[in-house]
Assembly symmetry: D2
Amino acid sequence: MSDRLVVRPVSQTDFDDWLPLWDGYNAFYGRAGDTRLPDEITRTTWTRFFDAYEPVHALVAEKDGRLVGLVHYLFHRSTISIAPNCYLQDLFTDETTRGQGVGRALIEAVYERASAAGAPRVYWLTHETNHTAQALYNKVAEHSGFVVYRKMF
Amino acid sequence: MSDRLVVRPVSQTDFDDWLPLWDGYNAFYGRAGDTRLPDEITRTTWTRFFDAYEPVHALVAEKDGRLVGLVHYLFHRSTISIAPNCYLQDLFTDETTRGQGVGRALIEAVYERASAAGAPRVYWLTHETNHTAQALYNKVAEHSGFVVYRKMF
Amino acid sequence: MSDRLVVRPVSQTDFDDWLPLWDGYNAFYGRAGDTRLPDEITRTTWTRFFDAYEPVHALVAEKDGRLVGLVHYLFHRSTISIAPNCYLQDLFTDETTRGQGVGRALIEAVYERASAAGAPRVYWLTHETNHTAQALYNKVAEHSGFVVYRKMF
Amino acid sequence: MSDRLVVRPVSQTDFDDWLPLWDGYNAFYGRAGDTRLPDEITRTTWTRFFDAYEPVHALVAEKDGRLVGLVHYLFHRSTISIAPNCYLQDLFTDETTRGQGVGRALIEAVYERASAAGAPRVYWLTHETNHTAQALYNKVAEHSGFVVYRKMF
C-alpha cells in the first residue's frame, strides 16, 4: 500500500479499525463516558452498512494502510423530488491527519456516489459554533441558511 | 361538522382540497410559475402517502369541513439510534387561518405519531430569516443550533 | 374481557405472551433445540414490528384475555405494480384453539389492512404436504399454481 | 465488444433495448394486448432500478452488443433473519438466444450479488406447469416444496 489516500466502502473486516474513529466522532458530540452510545446501537448501525435492504452506507479513508477517516451517509425520501435525498450524517478524521484533505476527500466521495445514484442533493448539519468544520464546508458546499429545530422524546 | 379543528391523516378523496395548500406551500419557497414543482413529483408524493411501503405521511387540518393546513413527515434511518428519526418536511397553513393554532396543532399531531412510533426525535428545518415561523417553533421545540450545508447536483 | 376473539396489532407489552406462540411456530418448521432461531433474530424481528421505518407488522389474536394466535406480514416492492405486495410470512394458532376460526380471522385481518393500504395482493407460502393448512387456505385464498425455488447461502 | 456473454447492471441508456425484453416477459405471463401492463407501472419500475432508496435492481445480459436477457431482483425483510431475503422476481431471455446459458448466467449473477450483500437466500416462483424453466431451475437451485397461495384485491 502506498501513502496515497484511498476512500472506499467499509468492509466487514474493518470493524476494529473503524470503531476508534466512530468512538472519536461520538466523543466530539459528547457521547462518551456515561453518555456513551450504547453498544447495541453501534452494532445495529454497523450491521445496517452491510444490509442490502438499508439505504445506509459507510466509506472510510485509508492512508498507509491505516484508517484515518469515516463518512456515513443515507438516502431518504423527500416530498419535493422523485429521487431520494442524501443525508451525510457523520464525518470524522483522525486527529493526527487533520488538515490533509481527508475530510474533503470523504465528502467528495459521497458527492460522487449520491450523484451517480441520481440524488438531487447531499446535505448535512453542523453546529453554528463549529467554525473549523465550516471553513471546509464553505469551500465544498453551500451554507443554505436553514437552521434545525427539534423535539426530543 | 363542528367548527373545531380536526387533525387527521389525509385520505385519497382529499386530493382536490390538499392541492391548493401544497401549491401555496411550494409558492412560499419560490416553487411557482416557471419554477413550479413538476406535476409528476406532486403525483408521486401523493401516491407515496398511501403506499404502505413508504415511510412518508401526511396529515391535514380540517376546520368547518374545509382543509386549512397540511403537514408532511417521514421516517428515516439514523446512525445513532435503532429507531428512525422523524423529519417533518412540510408545514403549511391557509393564509386566512394563520394565528389560530393550526400550525401548532399539526406539529403536535406529528409529535404524537412519532412518539407512538418510537422515534426518538422529530426535527425540521426553517430559514434563519423566517422569524414568523420561528416565533411558533421556539414555543414547541428546541432551536438546536445546527445549520444546514448542502450541495445540489 | 369477553370470550370473543379479538385480532389486534401486537403491543410492546405482549412480548412474554407472544414469545411462546413464536417459539411454537418456529418449532413447527423445525427451528427448535439445536436449530432454534437465535435470540438475536427474535429480538430484531420484535423491534422491527414497532419501527416506523420498517414495513413489518404483527397482529395477535386474543381470546379470554389470552393470546392464542399470531400473524406477521410485511410489504415489499413488486416490479409489476406501483403499490407494494403484502407477504404474509408467519401464521400460528395455539394448539388448544385450533379449528375455532383463529387462523381465518388472522388472515382476514391481514386482508383488511393490506387492502386498506392499497396493496394489490396478499400472498403466502405453505409446504405442499401441509394438507391441514391448505384445507383452510383453499377456503380463503387462491392456490396460485406457483411453486418456490430457492438457493440458500 | 466480443461475442462473449456479459451480465451487468442495467443503465439509464438501456431503456430502449430493455423494453422489448420486458414486454416479452410480460406477454409470457399474459400481460399483453388488452391486459398489457400500464406504461405508468413500467415507468415507475424503471425509475426504481436507479433509485438509491429502493432495494430493486436489474441486470441485463449482453451478447454481441445486444441485450438478450434481463433479471430483476429485490431485497425484502424476513422475520427469521436479520439480513433481508432476495426475491428474484423476473427472468427473461430473448427467444433467439434460448438454451445458450443466458438464464443461468443471470441467475448466478443474482446469487453473487445477493451473497455479497449478505442475504441468506435467493428465491423465486415459477408455475408448476412450466417444465422448461424447471429443467434449468432444478440444476441451479432447490425445489423447496413450498407452494404459493394468494388473494388478489
